[in-house]
Amino acid sequence: MVRVVSRRLVQLGVTLIALMTLVFFWLRSLPGGPVDALLGERATPQTRELLIQALGYDQPIWVQYGRFLKNVVTGNFGNSIRTGEPVTDVISRAFPATVELAVAAIIIAVGLGIPLGYLAARHRGRLLDNATIIVTLIGISIPIFFLGYLLKDWLTQDIHFFPPSGRISTGTDNTDVTGFFVLDGLLTREFDASADALWHLVLPAVTLATIPLAIIVRITRASVLDVLDEDYVRTADAKGLRDATIRKRHVLRNAMLPVVTTVGLQTGALLAGAVLTEKVYNWGGLGTLITDSISGGRDYPVLQALILLAAVVFIVVNLLVDLSYAVIDPRVRVQ
């Protein structure tokens, strides 16, 4: 197990350096750059020159690359071009927002998806099953953007039920401890702030959860159906085991393998969904940061760090998924 993990970590390192190199050159090959975005319409040509020199963009690209690599290896990601803050500050502020949203979405997706998928499988061919298939098909195909605006229009405009955007009511004087607003409220006993943050979380989380939810329902259903047809289930049934025992020990456990893989993959994919969801709900997390850093003027340092972070999250989640196989199915050896 230790060997596997350490080998994976080495792979991770190599992957990341290759990725960073790619990202570095890819970003710089895009048209436009931070200079224009920083200067706006009023800058004189002299000011432009000054800025290019100050940022070191007048040096050859390989010199810039060398400087960049050195910084990354020493853990210095530089400052955001737009805001001037260290990139680590910018990201550590946005990270909890997205994690809060993603965790809520995953809780909804898994918490509803697995039971629903299971129920659908158990009622194969009946109304509940058919309804589930149709609804999840819609869930998979509806664009997040559209759903987000639809929900928002309906529940925040037609009926003023949920707040339209943001993570907490404007002017709430909540204490920031971890950056997770719901958790912070609990830690500092500002329960009203916690409740307020949770209330703001509902619509974005539901929006973000739809696609993974639909996928998890379908995978669970298919997987449970497969297992139900297995010989060992029939054998267990024949030898007179109690239904509950069969379901728990033989059906669910074996059906979980593909589901866990899917959950892992979906967790990674949530980041992509978060970009859209966060835009719709002015959420201020990593998704917002990505859009701002691209359209707001090619904020190279932030973009580089974000892509790195996304890769790490993806790789780590996949590693966890692989490891969890061993827990779920003792026959699987982690090698």
Binding site: L30, P31, G32, G33, A37, G40, E41, R42, T44, T47, L50, L51, A54, L55, G56, F68, N76, F77, G78, N79, I81, G84, P86, A97, G111, P115, Y118, L119, R122, T156, Q157, H160, F161, P163, P164, S165, G166, R167, S169, T170, G171, T172, D176, G179, D192, S194, D196, W199, V202, D237, I246, R247, K248, V280, N282, G284, D292, S295, R298, P301
Partner: protein, 559 residues
Amino acid sequence: MRAPGRPAFRFRAVIAAGVVAAMTIGAAGCAESDRGTGDDEGNAAGGTFVFAGAGDPKNFDPIFNDDGESFRPIRQMYDTLVTHKPGTAELEGGLAESWTNDPTGKVWTFKLRQGVKFHDGTALDAAAVCANFDRWYNMKGEAAQSQMIYYADVFGGFAGSPDAVYDNCKAQDASTAVLTLKKYKGAFPGAFALTAFSIASPAAMKQYDADTVTQNGDSFSYSAFANEHPTGTGPFTFGGWNKATGEITLAKNPDYWDEKAKVDKVIIKVIKDENTRKQELRAGTVQAIDFPAPADRKALADEGYAVLERPAFNILYLGINQKNNPKLKDLRVRQAIAYALNRPQLVQTKGPGGSVVADQFLPETVLGYAPDVQKYEYSVDKAKQLLSEAGATGLTLNFYYPTEVSRPYMPNPQEIFTVLANDLQAAGIKVTGVPRPWNGGFKDDVQQFGKQDLHILGWTGDYNDPGNFVGTFFGRPKVEFGADAMTEMFDAIGKADATVEPEAKRTAFEQVNRDLAAKWLPAVPIWHAPPAIVTTKNVQGLVPSPLTAEEFDTVSLTK
């Protein structure tokens, strides 16, 4: 096999848990709706004014900023020597009660208000004013200098630069500051009212290392002064910037030298998406929003919101680059383009409410506006005739337009392009549209490399001076227009800009504007489009400014 019976108990438990969770969340919602009004009750007289802005500020040191979203909070915390009468571009006294200019135009004497204090309690006197001018001129380092965009533009350069306009500033007595320039500059006195030239507390700047702009890798970071301790003389003091929620809080300055702010607190909430700004307004969570989508204005007005149109102080133009296609050097071809455009219809169909057709490059309120310029009324026949006279039938032009951007003067570039391109096609000019992201190539291609034949771009004025409009565009050779040969135009504008006596300056610029329309036509003015603010009904006293320079001290909230 037989389908195992009813779902196991644990699944019912899951569903039950879900219901409980939903109810808990519902209860949380009730708690939320209770807290909404909590803030106001304690302070019925003042209250909190929440204004939704469209973007993050950069920092709060005026001199290092050049964008409206940074200037919005800065303007509430600082004052300038000269300012604008609310709702106009006319000058009036700010920190200086009065100001005079000597006949050479180089020496400016400011009589300062007495008894004005910075937020840190130090006195605003002539020495403090001069300390600000000296600070700007002596700023060290490429990093810092490259961020002083307005300073570089207006004052020409820094200590040691031959182009620098600043000479010295002397405190004649405590309330008289004398600013001496190396040469006359037409931008003054209007430019003294620029928010970038707000006067900051020298003591606070020293204490919080205002001049330290440090560079780390690809970027800069600003001082504690710029981020946490902005200290001016304005009607509001800095209360904090919560970057996680995008809220800038400003508190009423109880010692303000002029009429004190009516609200106790201002929160500027950053909401980048215009649709979301509108929804927050409707949900009642913000009381005012900037830059509503033009299409939403009418609906919001119908719903009972106050739509405050700013007097137009901007210009959208169709730029013509004479460099790539020799035919465009021919005035007749450029005139044909002007005749081909049905501008009244464009204004009617695509212009934000209150837009007007532009026949010159500055709005009516600016000195030097000439009512009698050549107008180029829409006429496809005239356009075709001029093209054939110039031997330019079958002309093919590329037309660059920006995407991923909305500017006050250009809310919907793509739609504007489509209409203009159709007009040109109708007159027999073939148009190839080239869309480029605003920060992803448009500005580079148009202003640095000059790849375009035609493009759309515009400008919002900074202060009431014709040089700030026509001088910016046509006062010197620019890649954007590729009109390097038009020296007559550069000279005429330079001369007009250097005229000291106001009446003579007006006459000179009127002639410039007539010639720009009839003789030079380096671009075609399209429209002046006023951006708007929308507020809820209970917001009183918010005066929309042509310079988008609204001050919140006059705002009050009724129940």
